[in-house]
């Protein structure tokens, strides 16, 4: 929809809590904001962006590598994550409290995880394929 974009972010963290588009500018200035929030006429993607020092910035990505194949890439997938990172697998959530994500799998198949670190990190999808090893 062509129109007037808006983004609402928290002044204390820069987190974009809402964004969208209005067909009329009068609705941009009518968007609900709380005392610690501000609405700007700019299109920001809450999943990928936040406001840092008053300017749009990219939310950091925790993972450089989001596609793994075992055992080609190693015996296991392991990397550090911030405390209280939420990991979802097939929709079920668990909270990481030991500072690391670990996956060791010997059952062939494809495994998809949603890695949700605390703000300002992005939510990322992790795909791990366990390849079947031919028996000798």
């Amino acid at each position: 929809m062509a129109g007037f974009p808006f983004s609402i972010y928290r002044l204390d963290t820069g987190e974009v809590i809402s964004a969208g588009t209005c067909s009329m500018f009068r609705d941009v200035v009518a968007q609900p904001v709380a005392a610690n929030e501000i609405c700007i006429a700019l299109a920001l993607d809450p999943a990928l962006q936040y406001v840092l020092d008053g300017a749009p910035a990219e939310r950091p990505a925790l993972l450089d590598k989001t596609e793994w194949t075992l055992p080609d890439d190693g015996e296991a997938v392991q990397f550090p994550v911030p405390e209280n990172t939420i990991v979802r697998y097939e929709g079920e959530a668990s909270t990481v409290d030991d500072g690391a994500f670990e996956f060791e799998g010997d059952t062939p198949g494809e495994y998809r995880f949603s890695i949700e670190p605390p703000f300002p990190y992005q939510r990322q999808l992790l795909r791990i394929v366990v390849r079947e090893i031919p028996s000798n």
């Binding site: 974009v16 969208g20 009518a30 609900p32 097939e90 079920e92």
Partner: protein, 314 residues
């Protein structure tokens, strides 16, 4: 009193001295007639008819040209008709070009007509253009252009180009249009025309008791359609983690509707519903969608919630 000219008006016959031959080169019968008339009465009138006809068996080709002028004390008129016709194999095709002007005390009459027609045996098909300026005393229109056709195309006639304006079977198609101040008068659109729209991006990871999405729209007149969509993640595993949850929609902090859903740690599913709110006109409405747990452990959350608000005419 009319002024009469006693010298006969001279009309030259059509120049059709070139012999007409058929496909085998044999001359065809040609009828050529030139007629002039003049009557000295209270009416001054002159008429000329040029006619060329070629006939072989049942096939006929004919060109008629008529010119007629009339003048009277209270009227004047002039008519010019060109007609080209051909008949063969039961088909009759014709091209008619006609002009007509008239002046009388009641007003004016000026017409022109270009018409092509084909009668393939019982069903007349014609296409043409008519211009009209009818007298104000005749009860008609002052100025009019009529395109009489089953199809009308406007555009550059190329093999690959499209016609941006296209009329077919009484349906008008417009490929591209820049319209200033559009007024749509039928209830096909007018009743459901959107005045303004507000759409949020997907976002939020919200548990029970949280705000899923909120947005505001100015309700100029009519109704506001609230379209909400979200995704219920698979709840955490637990023997008691099943029950009912509720999504509540509020306008300016007053609940206007809700949807009750069942959750279970065995499945996840998308959620989408629409509600139409007949909010007061001239009011900015802030709509909120919130998630509430009604029973069970309530260990679940929803994500990627989108709120779409559309202000309809009614």
């Amino acid at each position: 009193m009319a002024t009469l000219d006693e010298s006969p008006t001279q009309f030259q016959p059509l120049d059709i001295n070139t012999p007409v031959v058929d496909r085998n080169g044999f001359p065809t019968p040609v009828l050529l007639r030139n007629q002039q008339s003049f009557k000295r009465t209270i009416l001054a009138q002159a008429k000329a008819i040029n006619e060329a006809t070629g006939e072989i068996e049942l096939n006929t080709a004919r060109i008629d040209q008529e010119a007629e002028v009339r003048a009277a004390a209270d009227n004047a008129s002039a008519i010019l008709v060109d007609r080209v016709t051909a008949e063969a194999l039961g088909f009759e095709a014709a091209i008619l070009m006609k002009a007509e002007v008239g002046i009388n005390p009641a007003g004016v009459l000026a017409r022109y007509q270009i018409m092509v027609s084909l009668d393939p045996g019982g069903t007349l098909v014609n296409s043409g253009m008519m211009f009209d300026v009818v007298s104000n005393g005749g009860g008609g229109y002052l100025g009019q252009i009529i395109l009489d056709a089953d199809k009308v195309k406007i555009g550059r006639a190329t093999t690959t180009g499209t016609f941006p304006f296209f009329l077919e079977s009484n349906v008008l198609y417009i490929e591209n249009a820049v319209i200033k101040n559009l007024s749509v008068g039928t209830n096909k659109l007018a009743y459901n025309a959107a005045t303004s729209i507000v759409i949020t991006t997907p976002g939020g990871l919200v548990g029970p008791g949280g705000l899923l999405r909120d947005a505001a729209i100015f309700n100029e007149y009519g109704a506001v359609s609230i379209d909400f969509s979200s995704f219920l993640n698979r709840p955490s595993a637990g023997g008691g983690n099943f029950g009912y949850l509720q999504i509540r929609i509020a306008r300016n902090a007053s609940q206007i509707t809700q949807r009750t859903l069942f959750y279970d740690d065995n499945f996840a599913y998308p959620v989408a519903f629409t509600h139409v709110d007949y909010a007061p006109s001239g009011l900015t409405c802030t709509y909120t969608a919130t998630l509430h747990n009604l029973s069970g452990d309530g260990n679940y959350d929803m994500t990627d919630s989108v709120l779409r608000l559309i202000n309809f005419k009614r």
